[in-house]
Symmetry: C2
Subunit: 363 residues, 2 copies
C-alpha cells in the first residue's frame, strides 16, 4: 500500500520511518530534488499545484496526506475528488488563515486571546485601542516559526508595524501573559475513535520551538484534551491534530492549531508507546489507534543549523539522535535529539547538557 504525501521535508521523512513498519510505502510530492523525505521513500518531483503531478500521486496512492498546512486548497480539493485525502481539506482551510482559525475556536467555545482582523491602518489603530499594548500583529496566512509577526509594544510602533506587514491581510492579537506554552497532540479515526498524548510543555526562542518536555499527569491535561477533542469533532477530523495553547495560571487559550504531526510531538518516537507518526498513519488508514502512554521521562531539543558532531551527540547520556539529512542553513531545523530518563531531575540534567552542546555548534 502506498501513502501519498504533499511535502518532502522532515515531517514526511519521519512519517515514512513511522509507517514503514506497518508495511506502508511512501510517495512524496515536492518541487525540490533535495527533499530529505525522498531518502526513505519515493519522490514525485513537481510543484504542489500541478494537475499532472497530483493525478499521478492520486493514481498511485491509497490515501493522500500532507506534512505542512500551507498546501494549496485547490490542489487538496482536486486530489480529494480522486482519492481519500486526510486530514479533510476543511481543516486545512481553517488552519491556513489565522482569522478563520480564531473564529473557528471562538465559535466552538475554545478560548483564544482577544483578536481583531486588520485590513487598514485605521483598523490597526482601532485594534491597538481595543487590545492595549503590547499586542501581536500577524499575517493571516503563511506564517510559521515566528515569521510574519510583529510585536507592537506601544502606539509609537504602529507606523512601523503597518509599514512592515500592511501589504497583507492581518490579525491583531492581544498578548496573553502566559506562564507556559503547552501543546496537545492527538489522533482521530474516521469512525470517531481518538487517542491523545500527554501534554508537551514547550520553550520557544525567537518564535521557534527549542525544547519540548513530556508532561504526564499534568493538571491541565483534561482541559486541554477536551479542547482538542472538540476541534477534532467539529472538523470531522482524521489524522493527527495539534493544538498549541497558552497556559495562564491554569487558564488555557488556543494560540493555533496544526493539522498534522507537530515538532513538539517528536519525542513520542521514543517517549510514548506509539509515535505521532505511526499514529497519523494508523488514523488515515482507519486502523486501530495506538497507545499514547509514556514509556519514560522524555524531552526533546531542536537542532537549528549545523548539528554538533555526531559522536558528541551520541555520547550524550540518554540521547536518541535524529538528523534529517538536510543541508545546514543557519536557523533551519536540521535535526532533533530526544532524551529519556528515569527521573525529572535526570531528564533536566540531560536536556541541559544537550542544550549546551547544541548551542556550541548550531545557530
Amino acid at each position: 500500500m502506498t501513502i501519498g504525501v504533499l511535502g518532502g521535508g522532515q515531517l514526511g521523512r519521519m512519517l515514512a520511518l513511522g509507517g514503514a513498519p506497518l508495511g506502508q510505502r511512501f510517495l512524496f510530492v515536492d518541487p525540490s530534488r533535495e527533499s530529505c523525505a525522498a531518502h526513505v521513500g519515493e519522490l514525485l518531483l513537481g510543484p504542489y499545484d500541478d494537475e499532472k503531478t497530483l493525478t499521478e500521486l492520486a493514481r498511485r496512492s491509497q490515501v493522500v496526506t500532507f506534512e505542512f498546512e500551507n498546501v494549496d486548497l485547490g490542489a487538496a480539493r482536486y486530489l480529494s475528488e480522486l482519492v481519500p485525502v486526510f486530514p479533510p481539506p476543511r481543516a486545512l482551510a481553517v488552519s491556513q488563515d489565522r482569522f478563520a482559525e480564531k473564529s473557528f475556536f471562538r465559535e466552538h467555545g475554545i478560548p483564544t486571546p482577544p483578536y481583531h482582523a486588520v485590513n487598514s491602518r485605521a483598523e490597526l489603530d482601532a485594534a491597538g485601542e481595543a487590545l492595549g499594548f503590547p499586542f501581536v500583529l500577524k499575517t493571516r496566512r503563511f506564517g510559521y516559526d515566528g515569521k510574519g509577526q510583529f510585536v507592537v509594544r506601544a502606539a509609537s510602533d504602529l507606523p512601523t508595524a503597518w509599514d512592515t506587514l500592511g501589504a497583507f491581510p492581518l490579525l491583531a492579537e492581544g498578548f496573553v501573559p502566559f506562564t507556559r506554552e503547552v501543546s496537545v497532540v492527538g489522533a482521530r479515526r474516521p469512525g470517531g475513535e481518538t487517542a491523545v498524548y500527554p501534554l508537551f510543555e514547550n520553550t520557544h526562542q525567537g518564535g521557534v520551538l527549542r525544547r519540548s518536555v513530556l508532561r504526564p499527569n499534568d493538571p491541565m491535561q483534561a482541559a486541554a484534551e477536551a479542547l482538542l477533542r472538540r476541534a477534532m469533532e467539529e472538523l470531522d477530523y482524521v489524522g493527527v491534530l495539534t493544538l498549541e495553547l497558552f497556559d495562564r495560571g491554569g487558564e488555557l487559550f488556543a494560540n493555533e492549531m496544526a493539522p498534522r504531526v507537530h515538532n513538539s510531538g517528536h519525542l513520542t518516537i521514543e517517549g510514548c508507546e506509539a509515535s505521532q507518526f505511526e499514529m497519523h498513519v494508523r488514523a488515515i488508514l482507519d486502523l486501530p489507534l495506538g497507545s499514547t502512554l509514556p514509556r519514560a521521562k522524555a524531552g526533546m531539543l531542536n537542532i537549528l543549523g549545523a548539528p554538533p558532531p555526531l559522536p558528541a551527540l551520541l555520547a550524550l547520556p540518554g540521547s536518541h539522535v535524529h538528523l534529517y539529512g538536510k543541508s545546514a542553513v543557519p536557523g533551519r531545523k536540521c535535526g532533533h535529539v530526544t532524551f529519556l530518563a528515569d527521573t525529572d531531575a535526570e531528564l533536566q540534567a540531560r536536556l541541559d547538557a544537550g542544550a549546551a552542546l547544541i548551542a556550541s555548534s548550531s545557530v
Copy 2:
C-alpha cells in the same frame, strides 16, 4: 553519507530504518526488483558478484556491509580493496562453512557440540559410531532456517541421510540435549569498544525461529558474553555479531554464529535503548555504541507466510507490528511483532495471544 548493503531483504530494510535517524542513506545491491529494503532506500539492481555493480556500490558508499552471510567471498574481498567493508571478510569466511566455524570456536576455547567433517559414506558411518544416535548431519555451506539438515535417529537412517545430502561437503554434529536455546548479540567498534545485549531466549519450530524473549539478568549472561567477546576479539570484528548457543543446564555450547544483525534481536527495536540495527550502523561508522539496557519486558513473534489482518495485529495489547512489505509465500518471514509488558506474566499472556492470532492465519 551513504552505507552500501549487499542484500535487500528485511534485515537491510530494518538497517535503513535504524540508520536513517543518524542521517545515513542506504544503497542496496540485490538481484531482485522486489527487494523490500528498496522501499526505504535505493536499489542497485544486479547480481552480488558483478564487478560493475560492486564498483558502483563502492564508489557511492562510505562503508559497505551485508545483511546475509552467504555473500560471495570474492565479491567481499573485491569490495574491501575499494572501500571499508564491515564485518571483515574473514568473519564471513568462517561463518560460511560450518566446519571452519566449529573449528574456529574450538580453537578459541568456545565449547561446541562434538562434530566431525563428513566427506564420504565411510566418514558418515564413522561419525555415527563416534557421536552415537541421534546426531545431526548438516551441509557445511548455505544452510539457514533448518535447511540442509538431516536428523539421523538411528544407524538405519544412514543410507537415506547419505542419499539426501551426500553430494555436499558435510558436518556431523552430536545432539546436545539442551534445556533451552539462547542467543547473545553484541557490537564491536574498530577500536575494540563492545556493547552486548541481554540474552534472548529462543524457540524454534522446524528449524525456524518463532519466538524470542529478552532475558535481562539471566544467570548465563556473563558466560555467554565472554564467549561472544572472545569471538569478536579473535576476528577483529566490526559490526553486530550473533552467537547462537545451546544451554544444557548451565553449560553453553556454540551452535553457530551470524556475522550480522539477527532475527532474535528484532525485539531490541522497542525493547532496548538502542536497537541492534542502529548499533550495527554505529559500529561500522566507528561511532560511540549505544546502550543495550532493556526498556521493558519484551518478546517477539515471527510471522511466517501471510500475516493476520493488520487491524487484528494492531489491536493486540502491547504489540509493535513490523511488516516487511514482502509478498506472502508459505513459510517465508514476512514480519514480526514485538510485545512490551510490565511483568513477565503480562508478557507471556501477550505473546500467547499473539501466537494464537498468528497461528490462525499464517503458515
